[in-house]
């Protein structure tokens, strides 16, 4: 039995990292790990950066996905280093492309998955607000996230009706039509109702919107920055090549 008389107090707990820090990490990962900026000299910094999303996942108790991605990276690295022979053939070509994509994209994807998992829509729009992103972008952005679950619900309902009515679609064209056209119609209808309800509650007033989402830079952000700065300085300044 739930205790209805319990007093409610709004949570003041902040997430480990500010959404803006996560954005910065995503850009850094894209620059250094995806595009390989900085060449061989920055290898330790790059390794540090690539490991960061995994560490973050561990800290935030999202271990399963973290380990799956890590295992994929380790396996791919191992394949490239030890199993790759260069003889060619379909299988090797397939493995080559697969492992290449995994190694190259995994750190970024891991950070992406961490960001999406640990940032609520309201935190993210609060962050965009503070970065002075205009509301013409932040409003559609939060509406989009509000609608992903609705689209999923609608799709599930439509799917059930389709199964129940035994409509498979005589051909592929009809199949796509029956799946998508009603989904767009139903979702768009929900959207009209949402618009009405949001507008009568003052959405779009020409005042600076406030935001109750608790964001702001804290100790977590500082530690991440310090670690990265130290790794960057170390890679550039220390003669680490000699130690390997």
């Amino acid at each position: 039995m739930v205790d209805e008389s319990r007093t409610y107090k709004m949570s003041v707990r902040k997430a480990l990292l500010d959404p803006r820090t996560k954005l910065l990490l995503l850009v850094l990962l894209a620059l250094f790990c995806l595009a390989g900026v900085g060449g061989a000299k920055l290898a330790p910094f790059r390794a540090c950066l690539a490991a960061l999303p995994f560490v973050l996942m561990l800290i935030d108790k999202r271990t399963v996905r973290g380990f799956v991605l890590l295992a994929a990276v380790v396996a791919s690295e191992a394949y490239i280093m030890f199993a790759f022979t260069g003889q060619g053939g379909f299988l090797e070509g397939f493995m080559l492309v697969t492992t290449f994509i995994v190694v190259r994209l995994a750190p970024c994807l891991m950070m992406g998955s961490y960001t999406m998992d640990t940032t609520s829509v309201s935190e993210f729009s609060a962050a965009m607000n503070r970065m002075h992103v205009p509301s013409a972008v932040t409003i559609p952005f939060s509406v989009m996230f509000r609608f992903f679950p609705t689209i999923k619900e609608n799709a599930a309902n439509l799917h059930d009706s389709m199964v129940m009515r035994g409509i498979g679609g005589a051909n592929l064209g009809k199949f796509v039509e029956y799946r998508l056209v009603p989904l767009v119609e139903v979702t768009s209808r929900s959207g009209d109702e949402l618009s009405a309800s949001a507008l009568v509650r003052g959405l779009g007033a020409p005042v600076r919107r406030t935001d109750i989402a608790r964001i702001g830079f804290g100790a977590g952000d500082a530690i991440v920055m310090l670690v990265l700065a130290a790794a960057l300085a170390g890679s550039l300044l220390l003669p680490w090549e000699a130690w390997v």
């Binding site: 894209a30 080559l96 972008v137 952005f141 509406v143 992903f148």
Partner: protein, 194 residues
């Protein structure tokens, strides 16, 4: 009442909803894309499927800025999900061009659907850039992989493939738009498109 050209709350919400519907199509295909060969199919499958929500979106786009904002949002999403900033940069350009094409048809020309859609879809192509370009920087970053590895990769993913992928994206977008036009003829007429 004379409708103003400025985007109002309803327009912004429509942008959100239709971008979500479009992105769901991308997402469903991207799930297949985890199998790396599927990644190459992104430019084939997404333009075919997403044509229906996009065309239905166009029936609602009557003001400047909506397509541009959708493009930007997709770019930001790519950044957020870890696909890098390439799509965001490209989507700024494709968003503006798609806007201009759609505007040139006075926001209701059926003939402009295909070109608008084809240009809008090109952001997808940016996702391939890191796989084909900047190899040199990446090679330098990972010398331990060995010479044969890079050579083998070069033959499997040659830079000219990028051109093929861009063309594929455009061709399949046009096919998708033609299909959507056929399926949605009734709805487009109801929305006053000609």
């Amino acid at each position: 009442m004379e409708e103003s050209k400025k985007l109002n709350g309803k327009d912004l919400i429509n942008i959100g909803i239709y971008t979500a519907l479009y992105f769901v199509c991308v997402f469903v295909v991207a799930m297949l894309g985890l199998i790396p060969v599927g990644l190459l199919l992104l430019v084939v499958l997404v333009p075919l499927i997403a044509a229906i929500p996009f065309t239905m979106y166009l029936t609602k786009v009557r003001k400047p800025g909506m397509l541009f904002i959708s493009a930007i949002i997709i770019g930001v999403l790519m950044l957020l999900t870890g696909m890098g900033y390439y799509a965001l940069v490209l989507s700024v350009i494709t968003g503006i061009v798609a806007e201009l094409i759609w505007k040139s048809g006075d926001y209701r020309s059926i003939g402009k659907i295909a070109p608008t859609y084809a240009v809008f879809n090109l952001w997808m192509w940016a996702n391939y850039l890191p796989l084909f370009l900047e190899h040199d920087a990446y090679v330098a970053a990972r010398p331990d992989y060995g010479e044969t590895y890079w050579q083998a990769l070069e033959t499997l993913l040659p830079p000219w493939m990028l051109v093929v992928l861009a063309i594929a994206c455009i061709v399949f977008s046009i096919l998708g738009a033609l299909y959507a036009k056929k399926v949605l003829a009734k709805k487009m007429a109801a929305a006053g498109m000609e």
